[in-house]
């Protein structure tokens, strides 16, 4: 499967990302035979190094892959840090800044990471059924 790698290097180039992600561009890219999801890459990985995005973190943890989250220090007040910090506290991932990454890679022990239990949407539906008065 062919893969398109779009990079903005160490700059920010939102227009590029926007126009590549636009529906028409994506359709053309797909029709040319490129893949639209990183699920396969994630499946094959033995270690994932990721930014602090919630989607990236959760998807990786659900696939039971060891995860290192690297914080983008230029994005202060980024609310997504809260989730990464909490997951780190709960022992599900490692967490560092770019400068700390080599040290962490050297010293980390992946076996200390805890399994990430799946969420329970059934608790939500049970709660909702009760409060809206749904009769079985």
């Amino acid at each position: 499967m062919k893969c398109v790698f779009v990079t903005v290097g160490t700059t920010s180039f939102d227009d590029l990302i926007a126009c590549v992600s636009a529906h028409d561009s994506l359709q053309i890219i797909q029709s040319l035979g490129y893949k639209d999801s990183l699920k396969e890459d994630l499946q094959k990985a033995d270690l994932v190094i990721s930014h602090a995005g919630a989607g990236s973190c959760l998807e990786t943890l659900e696939k039971r892959k060891p995860l290192i989250v690297v914080i983008n220090e230029r994005l202060m007040n980024n609310h997504q840090l809260e989730l990464a910090k909490q997951l780190h506290k709960d022992g599900h991932l490692f967490y560092c800044t770019c400068s700390m990454l080599p040290g962490l890679l050297q010293s980390m022990d992946l076996s200390t990471l805890n399994c990430f239990p799946p969420g329970q949407p059934e608790k939500f539906s049970a709660f909702l059924d009760k409060v809206v008065g749904l009769q079985k």
């Binding site: 609310h79 939500f124 008065g133 009769q135």
Partner: protein, 217 residues
């Protein structure tokens, strides 16, 4: 001249008082009305919000039908995700022959990083468009999880109650990303929703009136 002004001020104050009383009545907890089905209005926000929302909906029974999804007009990805989700649902339940879901589009309340002032203006504009849509659908239940789009929708749902048209149950689920602090939508809707669900114990401690069911996505 002075008399007319005083009269106008008095009328305004009375209207506000009436509004406050009606709001208080609408938001007061009441026993659930037993029912066999209910129509659902789901506010789908960009990216992660939609993914989380669809996970919440995964386990809902077919009694929650029809499902009306509201999507921001610039959000193609959410529409795609919703269609896939509903397709899987339809495959699992071939006996349902009528369309069980609809997708509606409204302008986004607020783009990411948009300034505060222009956010207020675009939110007012969204209200102008949300209310007719909410009025038309008259859902039994509104479900949302934090995108800016949900504030005008929830206020519209509240208005239906205030105007005596229909009592709409508003359920807000704060995103799993929110561990210690509520989102802006969360802060606004905490006081205006019937059930406010958080997914981390820290938030439950800070907001004791919220509902904590553990991690539900």
């Amino acid at each position: 001249m002075g008399g007319a002004l005083i009269l106008a001020a008095a009328a305004g104050a009375l209207a506000l008082l009436l509004l406050a009383v009606r709001l208080w009545v609408v938001l007061s907890p009441r026993a659930p009305v037993p029912r066999r089905s209910l129509s659902l209005l789901v506010v789908a926000g960009s990216g992660g919000h939609t993914t989380e929302m669809l996970r919440l909906l995964e386990n809902l029974s077919n009694a929650y039908s029809p499902r009306h999804y509201i999507v921001a007009d610039t959000d193609e990805m959410s529409t795609h995700k919703i269609n896939s989700f509903e397709q899987i649902r339809a495959d699992r339940n071939p006996s349902a022959t009528f369309p069980e879901y609809y997708v509606h589009r409204i302008p986004r309340s607020r783009e990411v990083q948009q300034s505060w002032l222009s956010s207020v203006l675009t939110t007012l504009y969204s209200m102008w468009l949300s209310f007719p849509l909410t009025y038309r659908v008259k859902p039994d239940l509104v479900l949302c999880n934090g995108p800016g789009t949900c504030v005008p929708i929830c206020i519209s749902a509240l208005l239906l109650g205030i105007l005596g048209i229909k009592k709409v149950i508003i359920v807000y689920v704060e995103s799993i990303c929110r561990v210690e602090h509520l989102s802006l939508s969360g802060k606004i809707l905490f006081h205006l929703s019937d059930y406010f669900i958080v997914q981390w114990p820290t938030l439950k401690e800070k907001y004791p009136k919220s509902v904590y069911l553990g991690r539900i996505v």
